[in-house]
Subunit: 101 residues, 2 copies
């Protein structure tokens, strides 16, 4: 990508907001989060049934959402229960609110 070597200095929260936005930047991930908002929690397998995508693809999307901090996984053997990460969710909500005035 021929990146500039030094890291650009952005204003406070700019990168955090961009990171959240990027995680939301795919319809499947939006749909997963909407699903989680309704159900409050769900298992990977549930999503695989809901969406016409491979299990690995769903898993990848979950990973990205987790990396962005928007969801968290809880071991519930033999499944994993995913829920909204309420704390970060609130942060994201606030950042978007501030951003849009």
């Amino acid at each position: 990508m021929k990146r500039s070597l030094e890291h650009i200095e952005y204003k406070e929260n700019t990168e955090a907001l961009a990171r959240f936005a990027k995680a939301l930047g795919h319809p499947t991930r939006i749909a997963i989060l909407k699903h989680l908002e309704n159900q409050s929690c769900c298992f990977t397998g549930d999503l695989v049934e809901v969406f016409p995508l491979a299990q690995s693809t769903i898993s990848q999307h979950l990973k990205e959402l987790k990396n962005a901090g928007l969801i968290q996984g809880e071991l519930k053997p033999p499944k994993i229960k995913y829920c909204i990460d309420q704390e970060n969710w609130k942060i994201a909500k606030t950042l978007f609110q501030q951003f849009f005035d």
Copy 2:
């Protein structure tokens, strides 16, 4: 990307929200929009001075923001004045608000 041929059917507004989010998914674009919110409007050249990026790179980011509908350009020869697209901005704001409850 070995995409599924048929298009996945998402719920209302899911794709619109994802499209906005994707456009916001880069810190430079967030910064540009913040700048526009302060200044209300600005020229491409102004941004080139503000950010340590090539003119073509700024132009590309502006194009994406325009494609997403978040900004609009007005011919002000020999420059182009960019402003927030208030109408779509309101739509985006609403979509994010709804999404975060």
